[in-house]
């Protein structure tokens, strides 16, 4: 399994009020088999960092290496990268509301052309593992609790068995008990050898991580 190597990442947003520097020369290593936390106050650039690592956004300067390849400058197929190399867990779950829990987990596999029966088998297995029982599989996200939704979201992130898990405030909308369980799940995923990168402003989450990077105003501190 591969780790993530971030070097001198800079990202600026042009707004009507002027330029916002979301990331300012951030360098960071997230090893496989470890859970790395990026901690910082609101607006410090955590989400921006994760989106760039996940290739949802392009940096203005700097590089992101996953394994041997620079994801932005080596001509890597980014759609393929998003499908197979990374799995996203969003702050607001971002499940498709018209799909059932099972269908949400099947979605990334459908994009890679996995056979439907195999999609189903694996989706059930992942949901089961996340503690979502068969009685919930055909429920739509609106009928699930926040914790359950986040578990479905993690199952979805794992669908194509990615090396890198990117979790943006995975506990942000959950009570502390549920949050703890989610963090446990993420820790477990890192134990399997995956590289888990968690953005959070919750010091408790940071405390459970293997390594912590502090972000403030787009710069690493401490």
């Amino acid at each position: 399994m591969n780790g993530v190597e971030v070097r001198d990442l800079t990202k600026r947003y042009r707004t009507r009020g002027g330029e916002v520097i979301a990331l300012d020369g951030v360098s960071l290593d997230a090893q496989p088999g470890r859970m790395t936390a990026v901690v910082g106050p609101s607006g410090s650039g955590k989400t921006t960092l994760l989106y760039i690592v996940g290739s949802l956004e392009a940096p203005d300067a700097g590089s992101v290496r996953v394994g041997e390849r620079d994801i932005f400058s080596s001509g890597l197929n980014l759609v393929d990268y998003r499908r197979k190399t990374v799995g996203f867990v969003f702050q607001f779950f971002n499940l498709v509301n018209t799909y059932t829990a099972l269908e949400n987990v099947m979605l990334p596999m459908a994009m890679t052309g996995v056979a439907r029966s195999e999609q189903k088998r694996r989706a059930r297995e992942l949901l089961e593992r996340m503690g979502i029982g068969p009685e919930r599989w055909n429920h739509r996200p609106t009928r699930l609790s926040g914790g359950e939704q986040q578990r479905v979201a993690i199952a979805r992130a794992l669908a194509n068995d990615p090396q890198v898990i990117l979790a943006d405030e995975p506990t942000g909308n959950l009570d502390s008990g549920t949050g703890k369980i989610i963090v446990e799940i993420l820790r477990e995923l890192s134990r399997e050898g995956r590289c888990v990168l968690v953005a959070t402003h919750d010091e408790n989450v940071a405390g459970l991580s293997d390594s912590v990077a502090h972000l403030k105003d787009g710069r690493l501190v401490g």
Partner: protein, 495 residues
């Protein structure tokens, strides 16, 4: 497979909206397909009219030549005319006869045009058959018509019979329209014409009264100054029955008893003593669209306005113009309603895509290629359109015919008075004077244009598919733009 199920699911997610979209689309599509059906029908009917009407032309001496002659003759007194008749040389008499005729050289030349399909030439005149009594003419004398005829320099006697000559009896409109029917013997043909065989067709009643059969001969007097010696024996080769009385209103063609003789043109020319001249020539040419080309050729050949060519263009226009207008109106309707379809689809797709930006972002974030997302949206668009087209087709079948009828009746109503005026105003008097049309002209079928037959055949189905495809493709513009522009990093930040 998954793409399809996902697409179908998306339609179900907002059934009310989908139904409204389908309803609006089917209304517009039904309208545009009905318009299309009418348009196709109008087009094909114009072609049909074209195949039957408007490709007939006649060449003859201009009506103003007749006019001036009429006024010149009617200005003379009885005595003057008599003196003229007596002092006239044979050559002058012939020249006078030829004044109202057209040289065959001209009509033959016109027939060589690439547009001409059939050609016939005619000469109608009155010939004296001294041994035969046209008893029915008694009435004419009593009615005073003979006097009127003599004012025009035409000598009518009890033994005078109308003769019509052309190149082939079978092609005469009287026979082809069934007004007269050959009951014995045969027609003369082109061979008889070119060999100038002295043969005639005779009316049955006249033949019976004079106890004549096919193979018998009659004697005709050749028109010349003295007339005595110049006589010609004609063999009867056919006897015909009159089914419908001649209805020519004009004076020269007045023949209520149908005692007409038909003979090869060359024979009639000899009897009339006007070799190389005819009354008129008739042509069926390829297509009404070539009317002007043919007229131009004729003008170049005739070289003077002494002769004129008349065509069926007005008849064609009377039939075709309302159809063409229906076609135009339906085209406008077609494009208008198609535009409405596209607009409805674009708006609804805009709503759909805007309501789903976050979802599109999720799709992209989990590794969906634009193409995959678009395929799903395309399924939605196609299903919406397909359902609408199916509903619309059913509605069109019900709507099309009545729409076509209505449009046509509107156009005929606005068209008709104008046309009537055109025809009567200028030419009525002239026609009467000259005689109504050449014996080569067939009764025209005016029924073709008066109705519109809206059919729902393969062609319409094909066009419906094209419309479906076109509407779907334009409907896809919004999703394409939307999907390409969605930035997951932006839309997913929002709660």
């Amino acid at each position: 497979m998954m793409t399809f199920t996902r697409g179908f699911k998306s339609i179900y997610r907002n059934p009310a909206r989908s139904l409204i979209v389908i309803f609006l689309l089917s209304v517009c599509l039904a309208f545009s397909m009905a318009m299309l059906a009418v348009r196709l029908a109008a087009d094909s009917q114009v072609e049909e009219v074209k195949a039957r009407v408007g490709n007939y032309a006649e060449v003859k001496v201009s009506s103003n030549v007749f006019f001036s002659r009429y006024f010149a003759e009617s200005g003379k007194s009885e005595k003057e005319r008599q003196r003229e008749q007596e002092t006239m040389t044979e050559q002058e008499a012939r020249q006078k006869r030829e004044e109202t005729l057209i040289p065959e050289s001209i009509t033959d030349e016109v027939s060589r045009s690439e547009h001409v399909r059939t050609y016939d030439k005619f000469l109608t005149t009155d010939i004296v058959l001294p041994e035969l009594e046209n008893t029915n003419l008694q009435m004419v004398f009593e009615s005073g018509l003979a006097k009127e005829a003599s004012r025009l320099g035409i000598q009518v006697t009890m033994n005078t019979f109308p003769f019509t000559g052309n190149t082939d009896a079978a092609s005469l409109s009287d026979f082809r329209d069934g007004k007269k029917v050959l009951v014995e013997g045969r027609y003369y043909d082109y061979f008889d014409f070119s060999a100038a065989n002295p043969v005639v067709l005779i009316e049955k009643n006249l033949a019976d009264k004079n106890q004549l059969r096919t193979g018998d001969t009659v004697v005709a007097r050749i028109k010349d100054k003295t007339g005595r010696e110049a006589e010609k024996e004609l063999t009867i080769i056919g006897i015909y029955e009159t089914k419908e009385a001649e209805s020519s209103q004009n004076l020269l063609g007045f023949n209520p008893f149908g005692n007409r003789f038909y003979a090869p043109l060359s024979v009639v020319q000899e009897l009339n003593n006007t070799p190389g001249f005819v009354d008129d020539a008739s042509y069926y040419f390829d297509n009404v669209d070539n009317t002007n080309a043919l007229l131009a050729e004729f003008r170049a050949i005739s070289g003077s306005d002494r002769y004129e060519m008349t065509t069926d263009l007005v008849d064609y226009q009377t039939l075709a113009d309302p159809l063409a207008k229906v076609g135009n109106t339906s085209s406008i309707g077609l494009w208008g309603s198609l535009g409405a379809c596209v607009l409805i689809l674009l708006l609804s797709m805009l709503l759909i895509v805007r309501g789903r930006v976050k979802e599109l972002g999720v799709f992209k974030a989990v590794g969906a290629a634009d193409r995959q997302i678009l395929a799903q949206l395309a399924v939605e668009v196609v299903v919406l359109c397909l359902v609408a087209v199916i509903i619309a087709s059913a509605a069109t079948a019900a709507l099309g015919q009545s729409l076509g009828n209505w449009l046509l009746s509107e156009n005929i109503r606005t068209e008709a008075p104008e046309q009537n005026q055109k025809q009567d105003g200028g030419q009525g008097m002239m026609r009467q004077f000259q005689g109504g049309g050449s014996p080569g002209r067939l009764a025209s079928d005016s029924s073709v244009g008066n109705q519109i037959k809206v059919l729902f055949g393969n062609e319409l189905f094909l066009y419906a598919c094209l419309i479906l495809l076109g509407v779907c493709l334009t409907g896809m513009v919004i999703p394409v733009v939307g999907v390409v522009r969605v930035r997951p990093a932006r839309v997913l930040r929002m709660e």
